[in-house]
């Protein structure tokens, strides 16, 4: 950033109290690709939420006569091995996959923030104990931990959400702790302490807002990763059980037909890929928007 660019942007950003959120949105709007991702994701979310209304068939309605049909006018995406309409199942499936990923990211965010801020703020032996526990959790390959926890908790929607979130907690906690340590040392926190704000106020008012933007970026990237992991769990027969139309379960159920009825495998895979692509585009855009240095 040569002195010129800095001066230019200084004058340009009229000093008005635009809230952080608006600034991010404005910055995000510059990044066309991120907007493309955001729109795509919102479109998918809306389609999935409206699925009961717009879906042509009932996702569990079996039709033994029309089994394994390739895409046709009646069934745009064709039917699966029990004659159920794949398009409907993908729409309903979205509700499972996307909501489970979002929920699991929120859960790991909450746990991560709590653990991170406790470790970050109090420091000392509390910090060390927590850090060593996080080391232990993180020294197991992510997928393995999720599988064992999912097996321990059992199958089903909420259990799978918990299993998915366990994996993200150490990373979020560590991220927040690093932010807390950095922010805690900075001047304006000392300034706040000097005018004797209460500790809680300091945490809420100063530590959180500044630690929040990297967390948001990491969380948005994590959603994409969670969708893939959620599908992998169903692929291994854990997580959500049939007849629930979760994308991973559909993919794993149809993989034996890949040679003869590939349409059953292609569409769920595409659904996962498109959603994760949209989330990645959005995540990248968000990261650039939130990172002041990269402001163009």
């Amino acid at each position: 950033m040569t002195e010129y660019q800095m001066k230019a942007s200084l004058n340009q950003g009229k000093v008005r109290k635009s809230s952080e959120f608006l600034r991010v949105l404005k910055q995000l709007s510059y990044n066309k690709i991120a907007m493309f991702g955001l729109i795509l994701f919102i479109l998918e979310l809306v389609l999935c939420l409206l699925s009961p209304v717009i879906a042509p068939y009932d996702y569990a309605a079996m039709d033994v006569i029309h089994m394994n049909e390739t895409p046709s006018a009646a069934h745009w995406f064709g039917t699966d091995d029990l004659g159920r309409d794949i398009l409907t199942r993908i729409l309903f499936g979205g509700r499972y996959s996307i909501t489970m990923s979002l929920l699991s990211v929120v859960v790991s965010l909450i746990f991560g923030v709590v653990i991170g801020s406790v470790a970050g703020y109090f420091g000392g032996w509390v910090d060390n104990v927590i850090m060593r526990i996080l080391d232990i959790i993180q020294s197991l390959p992510g997928m393995l931990l999720t599988i064992v926890v999912s097996a321990a908790l059992g199958n089903g929607y909420l259990n799978t959400v918990m299993a998915l979130s366990v994996n993200g907690i150490p990373a979020q906690a560590r991220m927040l702790r690093a932010q807390m340590m950095r922010v805690r040392g900075s001047e304006y926190v000392e300034a706040a302490q000097s005018i004797n704000c209460s500790q809680v106020r300091i945490i809420a008012k100063h530590l959180f807002p500044n630690s929040f933007s990297p967390l948001i970026v990491q969380a948005s990237m994590a959603i994409a990763n969670r969708i893939t992991m959620c599908s992998s769990l169903s692929f291994l027969g854990l997580g959500v059980q049939p007849p629930a139309p979760e994308w991973g379960a559909m993919l794993s159920g149809a993989r034996q037909y890949i040679r003869d009825y590939p349409h059953m495998v292609i569409f769920p895979g595409l659904a996962i890929a498109v959603t994760v692509l949209a989330l990645n585009l959005m995540g990248d855009g968000l990261r650039d928007a939130l990172d002041p240095r990269l402001k163009r």
Binding site: S139, L140, P141, G142, V148, G237, I258, V274, L277
Partner: protein
């Protein structure tokens, strides 16, 4: 440096112990009675109770934990799988190399493709090269591994019949599984290289280098890349960890008898020793690779090497 490495190795012992206890506890929570699964339904109650005593499942939790830790860490008796009666250490001796080689091969492919792609994207930022590289990276990151595996098998082994689609054997057998594993790796590495290179290219010492008359190629390779290495190594490290985990799906699809399918089989059949010992070994391999990553940090950045060797107290991980 040696002292730091020794300290880190000593630190691994409590961590591996922690992993053992964590997995042991998780497995005890798993619903399903191993004895019943073993006898697979054709046995009466007292058969099942007899087997439970035989396996020590009826002892209280703490006793069993004590025995398990005692056997594993003191007597180094890794025991044998309940289902197959085969000694776990033999099983791991044959399976770990396969998983490890597969992990290393896809890691190397990710590095060999990901980093150059990232550099190309960073060097011509905003131009065509950048768009193509970013698009490739995004696609790689969004395709689910197992879906890609199925499509690759269809393309390469069924239609073109170039590569075997399953099993183990010479190098030919590792190509498709490695390709499946590394698409995500290439994607994350490209994006990480691009962003850290962009940060570095704008810094002052790059302008100093240019003012010395250094050619653009050398500015990138000698000055920019060496400084951008740290965040890249972090991604390579965490990616290798994910690789070990991600193998489970690849191994199931390509029927490669590696650690992944062994542990998943163990979890499904509630074969406690297999899961516990398998996890410990994976945790050890994982922690060792993390240590290698940290040592790579020191090799790449003298400032970190200085902090390792002077700091007497534990190196506080503030990744």
């Amino acid at each position: 440096m040696l002292r730091y490495t020794l300290r880190r190795l000593l630190w691994m012992i409590p961590i591996v112990l922690g992993v053992a206890i964590l997995v042991f506890t998780l497995m005890t929570f798993c619903p399903g009675d191993p004895a019943q699964i073993l006898l697979s339904g054709s046995a009466t109650d007292e058969d099942i109770q007899a087997l439970r005593d035989n396996l020590g499942l009826n002892d209280p939790y703490l006793v069993r934990l004590g025995n398990f830790l005692g056997n594993t860490f003191l007597k180094f008796d890794l025991g044998s799988s309940w289902m197959t009666k085969v000694a776990i250490k033999d099983e791991i001796a044959t399976r770990l190399p396969r998983t490890f080689t597969l992990g290393i091969i896809s890691l190397l492919i990710s590095v060999a493709v990901g980093i150059p792609l990232g550099i190309i994207a960073a060097v011509n930022q905003g131009r065509l090269g950048d768009n193509i590289a970013t698009a490739l990276a995004l696609i790689g990151a969004s395709i689910p591994g197992f879906w890609l595996a199925l499509l690759l098998i269809l393309l390469f082994s069924v239609k073109l019949n170039w590569l075997p689609s399953m099993g183990i054997g010479g190098v030919k057998y590792y190509i498709l599984p490695a390709l499946t594993g590394c698409t995500y790796g290439i994607a994350t590495l490209t994006r990480q290289t691009r962003s850290s290179m962009l940060d570095v290219i704008r810094s002052d010492y790059i302008t100093t280098a240019r003012s010395k008359g250094v050619s653009e190629l050398h500015v990138i390779t000698r000055h920019a890349l060496k400084n951008a290495l740290i965040p890249i190594i972090t991604v390579v490290g965490t990616h290798f960890g994910m690789m070990l985990g991600g193998q489970m799906i690849t191994e199931t699809i390509f029927s490669i008898p590696g650690m992944g399918s062994y542990i998943i089989g163990g979890v499904n059949q509630r074969d406690y020793p297999v899961v516990q010992i398998g996890s410990i070994f994976l945790a050890i391999v994982f922690s060792l690779s993390m240590l290698v990553v940290d040592l790579l940090y020191a090799a790449a950045d003298p400032r970190i090497k200085a902090r390792y060797s002077q700091s007497a107290k534990r190196k506080v991980k503030t990744k």
